[in-house]
């Protein structure tokens, strides 16, 4: 059920928001800036079925945004400029965020290195706890979070979608069936659900 809270956590779900400074040093020769390297890497990184983020079993949604500078609102507002660009990461997950980050380090070591080696103070992925501490040092807390299915884990969501699809098929195929057959078919449908994995 939909729910909201004044924190990062709403029921079982957690929103992790980090702002990580990107290296802003002049590249050697004609090499692209670190900000451009991150953009190029994300442009090449597959999404959908082939996304490396699919290896993370608790991650619902995740985005990376490069904040190059801050928007100007025109007169009479003042203007802020950033000295470094920042990499904004927002991840919606179920369960413990530190476990999720450790899982990223273990399952996506190459990708994490390729992204965060362009950021200030990146400790590498040799020690997952150091990377967790690094992420924590860049964390921004939510003041208000909202979610439509805050109590469900990603596994439960996948399972529910699978069961719904199979039950839709069952219901279509069993229209107008006599009561005895309907009951028997239903029992075997339930047994089928118990014995198959999502």
């Amino acid at each position: 059920m939909a729910n909201y809270a004044l924190s990062n956590r709403v029921d079982a779900s957690y929103t992790l928001t980090t702002l990580t400074p990107i290296l802003n040093i002049r590249p050697e020769g004609n090499n692209p800036s670190h900000q451009a390297r991150i953009r190029e890497y994300f442009a090449k990184l597959p999404n959908g079925e082939a996304s490396p983020f699919r290896k993370i079993p608790t991650l619902h949604l995740c985005r990376f945004v490069i904040v190059s500078d801050l928007p100007n609102q025109g007169f009479p507002s003042e203007t802020d400029h950033l000295n470094s660009p920042y990499l904004l990461m927002v991840a919606n997950m179920a369960g413990d965020w530190k476990d999720c980050i450790r899982s990223m380090v273990q399952q996506m070591r190459v990708e994490i290195n390729a992204i965060f080696e362009n950021c200030v103070g990146f400790p590498g992925t040799g020690n997952p706890s150091e990377f967790v501490d690094y992420v924590e040092s860049c964390q921004m807390d939510s003041v208000f979070s909202f979610g439509a299915y805050t109590e469900a884990t990603l596994y439960e969501v996948h399972r529910a979608l699978d069961v719904q699809k199979r039950f839709r098929k069952f219901a279509t195929e069993n229209q107008g069936v006599d009561p005895g057959d309907l009951q028997a078919n239903f029992r075997s449908f339930i047994e089928g659900l118990k014995t198959t994995k999502t």
């Binding site: 939909a2 702002l19 953009r39 609102q73 802020d80 909202f146």
Partner: protein, 219 residues
């Protein structure tokens, strides 16, 4: 199309606030939680097309500085960061927000510099577009299912579990009657999921673009 992943779309909006105004906003969120704005609470729950959304406030001086070599970023303003994952088009989303909770939107963004009000929609659209950042990468674990699809699937599961438990010892005739009642209860939650033709073409286009970029980079 990094702001779209399957059926989900991403919106990321960053707006400046005078530092002292951010305390009013924090208080407002607390008041929503405490039930001062019952209608806003109710409408938020009804915004079924949102997977997850949140607001964060980055205080002046809170931009992380992780090395002595990194010049500090001490801004004049606090910054309100709004992040949402929703289904449908950007226009539909902003439109629904302003239609359903205009007072809520006004109360949340009126502390931000240059906010024109959520009604009429034109200036509000422009304000959000001006302060919006495109995602460089956007991942969605359930690309074929919208937020409503997921809540429907969870509902079907819950009801199916209850029905299975309660119908174990019924006679065939009793079972048939109970099954019909069960179907009436869940029939609105059995819609098809999966990507539309347009979404499939778009996703294939993204994969193709990634492959082209990889091939180009390898040369």
């Amino acid at each position: 199309m990094a702001n779209i992943s399957g059926k989900a779309a991403a919106i990321t909006v960053i707006t400046p606030m005078k530092w002292w105004k951010s305390y009013f906003l924090r208080l407002l969120f607390r008041m929503i939680k405490w039930g001062f704005f019952a209608k806003v609470q109710e409408h938020l729950i009804q915004l079924s097309f949102i997977h997850f959304a949140h607001w964060s406030i980055v205080k002046r001086g809170q931009f992380p500085r992780l090395s002595d070599d990194q010049p500090p970023d001490y801004t004049k303003y606090d910054y309100l960061v709004f992040v949402s994952n929703f289904n449908g088009s950007w226009d539909q989303y902003i439109d629904a927000f302003t239609e359903v909770i205009p007072m809520g939107m006004d109360n949340i963004w009126k502390w931000s510099e240059g906010f024109p009000g959520s009604v009429p929609e034109g200036p509000f659209f422009e304000y959000i577009k001006h302060n919006q950042f495109a995602a460089a990468y956007y991942y969605n674990a359930t690309p074929g299912a919208g937020a409503t699809d997921i809540t429907s699937a969870l509902k079907v599961n819950e009801e199916l579990y209850e029905f299975e438990k309660s119908s174990r010892d019924m006679s065939p005739v009793e079972f048939e009657q109970a099954y019909q009642k069960f179907m009436i209860k869940v029939q609105n939650h059995l819609g098809e999921t999966g990507l539309t033709e347009w979404e499939r073409i778009s996703a294939e286009g993204d994969i193709g673009a990634a492959e082209l970029a990889t091939a180009g980079g390898a040369k």
